[in-house]
């Protein structure tokens, strides 16, 4: 995900469903339109929940990446 400027990032490892999703929602709420925000989650459920929410809200899932074993970073652009 090089070259993408991340406006806000939160490491939600250690918090379990629905913690990381709520963290993503909180970051998106506080972001400006156009910003990319990121959440790192260690919870398996996030792999389904977070993309499903981004899709429902019509934001853009810029990407996901494994940042450590069992930890995924989700990048979301607040595009409206």
């Amino acid at each position: 995900m090089e070259g993408i400027q991340i406006a806000k990032e939160s490491d939600a490892r250690g918090s379990f469903c629905p913690g990381p999703l709520m963290e993503m929602i909180r970051l998106v709420r506080s972001a400006n339109v156009g910003d990319v925000v990121a959440v790192i989650s260690g919870d398996e459920g996030s792999k389904k929940d977070i993309p499903a929410w981004i899709n429902k809200a019509h934001y853009e899932l810029v990407g996901t990446e494994e940042v450590a074993p069992g930890a995924t970073r989700f990048l979301c652009r607040k595009n409206h």
């Binding site: 379990f16 629905p18 999703l21 709520m22 929940d49 499903a52 929410w53 429902k56 809200a57």
Partner: protein, 380 residues
């Protein structure tokens, strides 16, 4: 003599104070509760105020009378906590020091955090708001009732579901159910955040023709157009909107180094110690634990804290196992029509959910009355 300070005279604080008074002699330690109200509210009763089944004037009792005479009660608001100095400041300008501290200041519903909420929405999270809703429901002649959860976490996770089911039964009894559409909104991808509970709720909703709108994160309320909007872009028209407001911890904890920005105190899930401080614990709604903010949670957490404080005062080792909390929570779900079910779970065991029945309803009604004699007094 050691000084134990307990912040908050609600469910958690009162149980801890009374259990400590039972376990310790007056010469062992002084026990003091600081609370910003002389009254102790039984909040679960608020759920029944909108339906005229509880009187808002009768859901609170004197905290002094619930406390063991050995416990001092100070009515004041904690305005600042300075862990390094083991001291607190209060709104009246006092500075109070402690050897052991227990934080049980609960959670605060914050409707003002959402644009348009105060003007356009109702809730039942304070006795006053619940009473206003009683008037609205009494005059309601049918239309669109939207009930939902306006932010996570909030206290008593099942209360919005219960309200929805009770409202459906209330409207049927009033003879206006067929003239009313009921919509339930939830911030997550399903109707509840504990998976094993979802099928039973979905079935109840289907039987009662209640529509669920999921992934609905409350954004704003337009009081004039009577429209509620979500962050996801969904707009729902309403005649009555009953939303659970976003909740926060007590104001002095918001942004405190021992808590997060919303005031949820960093608490160990087993020892209930705050941020590894050796002499500070938290219980009840104020913790940052990802478990239900419920009176039963505070009730089951209290013994672990009391064991640790008593052991520290007697300079003994905490009894192994006994001095930890295992995540135990019990919640009734009143589903209306004289029936209820119960959820009982802990960190390792999700709740098994059974069909609502009459027995559980009677049990819940009995518990609502017996609370005063059994729970804050630490009889059970």
């Amino acid at each position: 003599m050691k000084k134990i300070l307990i912040l908050g005279g609600g469910t958690g604080g009162t149980i801890v104070a009374n259990r400590l008074a039972h376990a310790l002699q007056p010469q062992d330690a002084s026990i003091e509760v600081i609370s910003d109200s002389p009254l102790h509210y039984y909040q679960p009763a608020q759920l029944y105020i909108p339906f005229g089944e509880e009187d808002p004037r009768k859901i609170a009792r004197s905290e002094r009378k619930l406390l063991n005479p050995q416990v001092k009660l100070r009515i004041d608001t904690v305005s600042e906590w300075i862990p390094d100095k083991q001291a607190l400041h209060t709104a009246r300008g006092d500075t109070i020091s402690y050897d052991f501290l227990v934080i049980a200041t609960g959670s605060v519903p914050c409707p003002e955090e959402v644009e348009g909420f105060v003007a356009g929405a109702d809730h039942f999270y304070t006795p006053e708001a619940a009473y206003r809703l009683y008037h609205k429901l009494s005059e309601f002649e049918g239309g669109r009732l939207v009930v939902g959860v306006g932010g996570i976490p909030y206290k008593c996770p099942v209360a919005p579901l219960e309200f929805t089911l009770l409202a459906e039964a209330f409207l049927a009894h009033k003879g206006i159910r067929s003239k009313t559409e009921i919509v339930y909104t939830f911030p997550l991808n399903d109707v509840f955040n504990i998976q094993s509970v979802v099928p039973v709720v979905r079935e109840l909703f289907e039987q009662r023709s209640i529509r669920a709108e999921t992934f609905f994160n409350l954004e704003s309320v337009d009081a004039e157009k009577k429209l509620v909007k979500s962050l996801e872009g969904t707009e729902l028209p309403f005649d009555i909107l009953v939303m659970t407001p976003p909740h926060k911890g007590a104001p002095f904890l918001r942004g405190h180094p021992m808590a997060d920005n919303d005031g949820w105190v960093k608490t160990d899930r087993n020892t209930l110690r705050v941020n590894d401080l050796p002499n500070v614990w938290a219980l009840g709604d104020t913790t940052n634990l990802p478990i239900s903010k419920a009176g039963s949670t505070a009730h089951f957490e209290a013994p672990a804290i009391v064991e640790q404080i008593v052991a520290a005062i007697r300079r003994e080792e905490s009894p192994p196992g006994k001095a930890t909390y295992n995540g135990h929570v019990t919640c009734f779900i009143d589903s209306g029509y004289g029936k209820a079910t119960i959820l009982d779970f802990d960190y390792d065991h999700p709740p098994a959910v059974y069909e609502p029945n009459e027995f559980r309803h009677l049990q819940k009604m009995a518990f609502n009355k017996l609370y005063w004699y059994l729970v804050p007094t630490a009889v059970i």
